[in-house]
């Protein structure tokens, strides 16, 4: 079977779409209100869950408000309205445990069936007495339950769009691999002076540019609904747009010479330089300044809670699938170029 890798690529792409869309998210907290409280008051908040089943096991529900890493208060009553709505009441102590005037507290809800869910910065608690004491605050959070069935992590703001990790990120990983193959073919052309390798390099660069542009478009759609704008002038967005311009210049350069030998040679040298700039533009510069992308600037990497083992089982096959599919497209484009060259050669010798 000569075509096994194409079949594998298509299989992995279908797998990444079916598993990436089909596997549910873990239960999470979608919303909590009101978001302001004062010290010393009896505070009741309305928590809305996502994919939760609060009504199935109303007795083993537990909830906390957590301040920093060391302080928390447990809820003194939890009322279940329906499967996704809770009324959680807290007796907030008279003083805050830290010196701040206002602290933000995360809401944590735990149950055997749904596992634990965290809503960061759910309440801002204002210190009305302006005194600091840890009295009433203790870290009683223990015996947390994990959600048992196969699911992807629920992240606030990201929600279901966490699945875009299987479609947006593999485009960029696949683009890097395809541009690497393109640069290797350019190097082989410079060593052998065989036109075949130049056509291969150009075909792979075309597919790499397609993947990059699709990466920009899919990233913009994702950004609109999580960061708030299609283009936030984020350093990684800007740098990847520049990387695309660098590769568009490769095609302009390659097509601007009359003589094919000369255009192939200059194109190959430029292609190798273009590939060298890629890691700088996509990995080095975004690390130096602030970026909205995970793993850049002050942001933590896309790992831990964001990329658990269930997601890895879809994410890595998706990268291989997209890369193999891109390589397939590139071989078809190369074969078209090759046939064109042969027709021209035959016409020349006749």
């Amino acid at each position: 079977m000569k075509h096994w890798w194409k079949i594998l690529g298509i299989f992995l792409m279908i797998y990444s779409i079916v598993a990436g869309i089909g596997i549910p998210l873990k239960p999470g907290i979608y919303d909590a209100s009101p978001s302001k409280a004062n010290t010393g008051e009896q505070f009741t908040m309305n928590a809305v869950g996502y994919l939760t089943q609060f009504d199935k096991t109303p007795d083993d529900l537990r909830a906390w408000l957590k301040v920093g890493n060391d302080f928390a208060i447990a809820a003194n009553s939890i009322g279940v309205k329906n499967e996704s709505t809770l009324n959680v009441s807290f007796q907030i102590p008279n003083n805050l445990p830290t010196k701040d005037r206002v602290v933000d507290a995360s809401l944590i809800i735990d149950s055997k069936k749904n596992g634990y869910a965290i809503f960061p910065s759910a309440v801002f608690i204002t210190n009305t007495t302006q005194q600091t004491s840890p009295e009433g605050w203790n870290n009683s959070i223990a015996d947390m339950h994990e959600f048992k069935s196969m699911a992807f992590p629920y992240r606030n703001i990201l929600q279901e769009t966490i699945r875009n990790l299987f479609y947006h990120v593999p485009l960029w990983f696949g683009m890097m691999i395809i541009f690497l193959i393109s640069a290797i073919n350019s190097g082989r052309f410079l060593m052998t002076k065989n036109q075949k390798f130049d056509h291969k390099a150009s075909a792979y660069a075309s597919v790499g540019t397609l993947f990059g542009i699709l990466g920009l478009v899919t990233g913009a759609i994702w950004a609109k609904h999580t960061w708030g704008a299609y283009w936030s002038w984020d350093i990684k967005q800007n740098m990847s747009a520049i990387a695309m311009l660098v590769y568009l210049a490769y095609f302009v350069l390659r097509n601007s010479f009359e003589e094919s030998e000369q255009s192939a040679r200059i194109g190959a040298v430029y292609n190798i330089f273009a590939f060298v700039t890629l890691p700088m533009l996509l990995f080095v510069i975004p690390r130096l300044t602030d970026s909205l992308h995970p793993g850049n600037g002050g942001n933590p990497g896309f790992g831990g809670e964001d990329l658990d083992n269930n997601m890895r089982m879809v994410f890595y096959p998706a990268i291989i699938g997209f890369t193999l599919f891109g390589a397939w497209m590139a071989t078809i484009l190369y074969r078209i170029e090759d046939v064109k060259q042969r027709i021209e050669d035959r016409a020349f010798y006749e």
Binding site: E160, Y167, H168, V217, I221, M329, I336, I343
Partner: protein, 72 residues
């Protein structure tokens, strides 16, 4: 061939017009059901990109076929 391309561009044009003028309801729709439609949008845009690439390759092949018909 030309009809197909003009068809696709008309469709894309209408789509963007729709998105521009119905911004708020579009936003509401995209944020419903845990923002799952953002994932659908991403998948559709990847599909459209692959289709446009197919058209690009077909046009190159068409040129070759023409050349063969004229010379061969």
């Amino acid at each position: 061939m030309k009809e197909i391309i003009s068809c696709i561009f008309t469709f894309l044009f209408l789509l963007t017009q729709n998105l521009l003028f119905a911004q708020s309801s579009h936003d509401q729709f995209m944020r419903s059901n845990g923002k799952i439609y953002v994932v659908i949008g991403v998948l559709i845009s990847i599909f459209i990109g692959l289709v446009l690439f197919m058209i690009f390759m077909e046009r190159r092949l068409k040129k070759l076929e023409k050349e063969l018909n004229e010379n061969g």
